[in-house]
Amino acid sequence: MTLTSLVIRNITSRRGRFVFTLLGISIGIASFVTFLSLGGSLKSEIQRESAALGANLVVTPKGSCAYEQVAILTGEQLPNTITGEEVAKIRAIDGMMAIPFLSERSAIDNRPVAVMGILPAETMEFKHWEILKGDYLADGDETGVIVGAVAAEQFKLQPGSEVTIRGERLPVRGVIKETGGKDDVTLFLPLPLAQRLYNAEDKASYVAVRVADIENLELYAQKIKEVVSLGVITDKQMLKSVLSIVGTVNVTLQLIAAVAILAAAFGIINTMMTATYERKREIGILQALGARRRTIFSIFLLESGLYGIFGGALGVLGGLVFSVLAAPQISSNHFTAFVKGSASSGLISPGLVFGSIAFSTVVAIVAGLYPAWRAAKLSPVEAISYE
C-alpha cells in the first residue's frame, strides 16, 4: 500500500463519478489540443513567414486586398501583374535592395507544390539559405531548380533528379536546408525561366524590398510610390492585415478552448469537494491511524492530479483524432495553408502531446487545491463524528 495506490483505488472504486469527471477534463483538453494543432500557433507561424521574407517593404499590385497579402506569406498562387519596367524603376532607387518574385504553382505526383521564380544571388542575400545537398543556382543558370528540404523529402528529390514543370523537364541542382517555413515546400527557379514557363514574360507577383535605413521606412515607401503606381506596404502593416483576417477565427477557437477548460476545472473542483464531504469519515479514520494534515492534503491533491493526467492523455488522443478528421473540412479557410508539410504529419508533435498533458495536470491540481485544503483542515474529531 502506497499513497499512490491508495489514491488510485479511491478514484477507480467510484466508477460513475470517475468516468464523468474524466470525460469533463478530456473534452476540455481535447478542445485545447484541437485549437493548438489547428490554429494556435498561427500567429507565430505568420510572424515567422514574414521574417523569412527578409523584407521591410513589399510592393504589390495596386489595390490588392489583404487576402492577397496572406497569399504572399503562404506561398499560394498570386496574380503576376507587376511589369519588368516597374521592377526596374524600383530597383533604381538608392539605398534599398529590391528583388522581384514570381509566385506560381505546379504539381508532382498530383500533389500541388509552390513554385517561385527568383533572382538567385540576391534572394540568397535576403534569405540566408544554407545548401544541404548539391549546389545553389549559379549566375546564368537558366534551367536549374533548387528545392526546399521538405519538398525534397516528400518527392524524393536530390541533385540530379528531374522535375517536370509546365511540361518541361528541369534538373534539380540542390536542396536547401530546412528553414521551418514555407520555403521548405517550394521549388525555386531562375526568374527568367519561370517567367517563360508560365507565360508571364517580364512579369512579377511582388517585389520584396530591404532598406538600408530602417528609420526612414516611410520615406522609401513614398519614393517607390512616386515612381510606380503600385501598392506598397511595410512588413508590419502586412503582418497586421494578415493577422486581422486569420486572427478572428483563431480567437473563436481560443475562446471555445478556454471555456471548455474552465468548465473542466470546475468539474474537478466539484468532484473533489463532493469527495471531501462524502469521505469525511474516511478522512477521520485515516487521521486516527496517524495521517497528518499534510498527508490528507497530498492524498486529495494527488487524486486531482491523476484526473489531470488521465484526462489529459484521453483529451490529447481525442483532440488529435478530431483535428485530423476536422482539418480537411475547414481547408477552405486560410489555416491549413499555414500548416506546412503534408496534411497529417505536421499536426502531432511530442511537444504538443506532453505539453497538453502537463497543462491538464496543472489545471487539475490548481482546481484541486481548495478541496484538498478543506479536507486537510478537518480535525479528527469532526471527521470521525460524521456518519
Partner: protein, 128 residues
C-alpha cells in the same frame, strides 16, 4: 473496470492511428488556385473543389470555376483565376460550390477539366 479501460484505450489509439496513416483521404480535394497554374502536371483523375463563377457563351457544357478563397476578396482588382470545366450533364448554377472529379485534357484553348462527376456542395451568393 481496468479491462474495459484498456480495451477502450487500445481502440481509440487504433482508430487514431488508422485515420492518421490513411490520411484524410476523401475529404481533401485540390483547390482551383493549386491546379490552375500548371494543370498539365496533374495526371489521372483528381478532385477539384471551387466556386462556379462563369459560363461559356459559346459552349453550354463549359463553365469556369474559381478558388473558394476568392469569395473573401471583394476588391475589383482581384485576379480571379478560372479553370474551364466541361460536363456531360447539367451545369451548376452561379455561385455553386462544387466538387469535381475528372481529369485535365489538353485542348486548343488550353487545359480543360473534363468532369466525370460534379457534386454541388452548397450555394454562395456571389456579391460585388
Amino acid at each position: 473496470m481496468k479491462k474495459y479501460a484498456l480495451i477502450g484505450l487500445v481502440l481509440a489509439v487504433g482508430i487514431a492511428a488508422g485515420v492518421m496513416f490513411s490520411g484524410p483521404g476523401e475529404a481533401t480535394a485540390l483547390h482551383v488556385n493549386q491546379v490552375a497554374a500548371d494543370p498539365g502536371a496533374f495526371s489521372g483523375t483528381i478532385t477539384v473543389t471551387g466556386i462556379t463563377a462563369a459560363f461559356s457563351p459559346q459552349d453550354p457544357a463549359l463553365f469556369g470555376v474559381m478558388d473558394i478563397k476568392e469569395l473573401q476578396c471583394t476588391t475589383p482588382n482581384c485576379n480571379k483565376v478560372l479553370i474551364p470545366v466541361r460536363v456531360t450533364g447539367p451545369v451548376p448554377a452561379l455561385g455553386d460550390e462544387v466538387r469535381i472529379s475528372g481529369s485535365f485534357v489538353n485542348s486548343p484553348m488550353g487545359y480543360v477539366l473534363t468532369a466525370e462527376a460534379v457534386k454541388v456542395v452548397r450555394n454562395h451568393k456571389l456579391g460585388s
